[in-house]
């Protein structure tokens, strides 16, 4: 597939560091005048390099979407980042104003929302919606704008884009709408694309095609991807790294191979015990016990009421990140001292 020339590629600086480095990110929801606090994202850290794909997995309500929205700085009104940093291409986004963030969103970072079917404005043409990022960020007008849009639509395999772009969302199939949302994400030439569970509403073949398309585009442009999903089959197929969330915390992260071959955290092990097929619409795993209530988490390790391997200290002491020799990081007392990579001994601060 021809992605067509240098204008599609992100304008990446030659900086060597990671594209994205999230450290100790904490995002809380405040309700009832601040009396009720939900720690939707609790000291989450991970890094992502150019061309890499991170799979972010976890049960419903574990904080995946909130993590993504914290990165782009578009949290709901009730939520606030209360700690940590999001360093994107060397700049800490948590310190930027909305005005500065607007210049980054849609241009250097794009996000594909959880429901691609509802993400297009029903009253505007496809052309207009795909053109907006280039119109506002790159000041493209007239013919060059039209060519740019056709080009983007071709890149996501929309047939005859010249006339398709004059149509409206309701005239498109679900798969097409999803690819158009993909084209919008690519419109600014981003170096990071966050895709929040983009496949759940579509049937298996379309889902697989879409994933292939994203991979192709990544190969062409070197864009870094964060892929949020419930589906570990997709992670195995798509991702280089995995991060597993439980109750707002990243309880284990690492390279896909290492994590799938030798999961360290009991929760990850439980997840892997029940992998659904690619395309399954099941909310996957049924792990014994109640999913946690984020407004009222148990003391110690949040997973302890459901953990088959809990030890006494799990009830009262919360484990921190333990960095292990094979590149994985796990937040569980069981791995303490096991093949730990020296300096990083984790213990809960706060």
């Amino acid at each position: 597939m021809n992605m067509g020339g240098p204008d599609m590629a992100p304008q990446r600086s030659a900086r060597p560091g990671p594209v994205l480095e999230v450290s100790d990110l904490q995002t809380h929801f405040f309700s009832f005048g601040g009396t009720r606090v939900v720690k939707a994202v609790d000291r989450v850290s991970f890094t992502l390099h150019e061309g890499e794909t991170l799979g972010l997995v976890g049960e419903s309500g574990s904080g995946k979407t909130t993590t993504c929205l914290s990165i782009v700085g578009l949290l709901p009104r009730a939520a606030r980042i209360v700690g940590g940093s999001v360093v994107f291409e060397g700049e800490d986004l948590t310190r930027k104003s909305q005005r500065e963030l607007r210049r980054i969103r849609g241009r250097r970072i794009a996000m594909i929302l959880q429901d691609p079917m509802a993400s297009l404005n029903p009253l505007f043409t496809i052309f207009r919606q795909v053109a907006e990022p280039a119109f506002f960020h790159q000041q493209l007008r007239g013919r060059s704008l039209r060519e740019r849009v056709q080009h983007l639509l071709r890149a996501v395999r929309i047939p005859s884009p010249e006339w398709r772009m004059r149509e409206y969302p309701h005239q498109m199939s679900g798969g097409m709408r999803q690819r158009i949302v993909g084209a919008i994400a690519l419109a600014g030439g981003p170096s990071l694309v966050i895709a929040d569970e983009p496949t759940t509403n579509l049937d298996v073949t379309i889902q697989a095609q879409y994933l292939d398309l994203l991979k192709d585009i990544q190969r062409e442009t070197g864009v870094a991807l964060i892929f949020v999903t419930h589906n570990l089959g997709i992670v195995a197929k798509m991702c280089d790294k995995v991060a597993v969330m439980y109750a707002g915390k990243l309880i284990e992260r690492g390279p896909v191979r290492e994590l799938f071959d030798d999961p360290k955290h009991p929760y990850t092990r439980a997840l892997l015990g029940a992998v659904p097929k690619l395309g399954s619409k099941e909310p996957l795993y049924s792990i014994p016990g109640q999913p946690p209530n984020l407004a009222n988490l148990p003391a110690g390790c949040s997973f302890h009421p459901r953990c088959p391997e809990a030890v006494p200290r799990c009830v009262s002491e919360e484990p921190g990140d333990f960095h292990l020799g094979d590149g994985t990081v796990a937040r569980c007392w069981l791995v303490e001292g096991k093949n730990e990579a020296g300096a990083h001994r984790g213990r809960t601060r706060s």
């Binding site: 607007r102 849609g106 993400s119």
Partner: protein, 306 residues
């Protein structure tokens, strides 16, 4: 599209028939008009003669059918009181009522829509709370009370505006304000809730994710979608303001349809009341068609299907 219009017209006809039958019955339950038409000294035979003259001696079904037959020919009957064709009376008053209704609609839109948008965008801010309070006041302060206060302030104390009657623009200001006020409150509430719903949608999130300026997100992406229910309400409100601004027209002695209706009800002027109500029904049907066409203009889902 033509099929859709035919269906709409048929529905409208059914609605108008139900409306006409209802108003036909309702006026007849208000009492006997003949007593008011005759002089106090009239004998029973005189009353019978009047009854016969106006066709009121016939059974209700017969009266209704005659009325409808005439209505289809565009004749709404003769007013008992004025002894003139109802349609003539109606169209005489219509320009005044349209002036007042349009001015009041404009006021309600100019106040209600921007305030509703700001309220939704800054939800739960002090502005939103003030706007919610004002909307509540608007819905609970009766228009006649506001009218009287306006007269007191602007005519009696400041002597800026005439108290009543119709003439130039100065006569319109106070009745339009008093009338538009109530409707501004309902426009505010509807705009606010409609905007809130749209602002929470996924496509607005995506518009924000594109890094678009807030003005573009709110004024173009959100407002266009929030507009549709606002249009409907504005259309219906306008018909009500044109045809049934009874209290305001009475207070400001505005020679409009509302006052005609008021007189008609008090005089038991059946043809007049029936005529005004049916004309209002027609206007609602017409406005709804206009609003539908506007929808099709705004919304490609309507324009390109059906």
């Amino acid at each position: 599209m033509p099929q859709f219009i035919i269906r709409r017209v048929l529905y409208s006809l059914v609605t108008l028939c139900i409306l006409s039958a209802t108003i036909f019955l309702v006026v007849r339950f208000t009492g006997d008009p003949v007593a008011l038409m005759a002089e106090a000294s009239a004998r029973p035979e005189d009353l019978d003669r009047i009854r016969q003259q106006w066709g009121l001696d016939r059974s209700w079904p017969v009266q209704y059918v005659t009325f409808m037959q005439n209505a289809f020919k565009g004749e709404l009957g003769k007013s008992f009181n004025y002894r003139l064709p109802v349609s003539e009376l109606y169209f005489q008053r219509l320009p005044n009522s349209l002036t007042l209704g349009l001015a009041a609609t404009l006021i309600s839109l100019l106040i209600g829509v921007p305030a509703g948008i700001i309220s939704a965008v800054k939800v739960n801010s002090w502005w939103d709370n003030v706007a919610k309070g004002v909307a509540l006041l608007g819905l609970s302060i009766p228009g006649f009370w506001l009218g009287l206060v306006l007269i007191l302030v602007f005519s009696v104390w400041l002597r800026w505006l005439p108290t009543s009657g119709a003439g130039d623009w100065r006569h319109v200001v106070m009745p339009a304000l008093a009338l538009g006020w109530y409707f501004a409150a309902s426009m505010l509430r509807l705009t606010r809730s409609s905007m809130l719903e749209v602002l929470g949608s996924e496509y607005i999130k995506l518009a924000r994710l594109k890094g678009l300026p807030d003005v573009v997100v709110i004024a173009m992406h959100a407002f266009k979608n929030a507009l549709i229910p606002v249009f409907t309400l504005a259309g219906v409100n306008m018909v009500v303001m044109v045809n049934a601004a009874v209290i305001i027209e009475v207070i400001f002695a505005w020679p409009g349809i509302g006052r005609l209706l008021y007189e008609g009800i008090f005089q038991r002027d059946f043809p007049l009341v029936q005529g005004v109500v049916i004309m209002a029904g027609f206007m609602i049907v017409g406005i709804n068609l206009v609003v539908d066409i506007l929808y099709a203009f705004i919304d490609p889902r309507i324009r390109l299907t059906r």
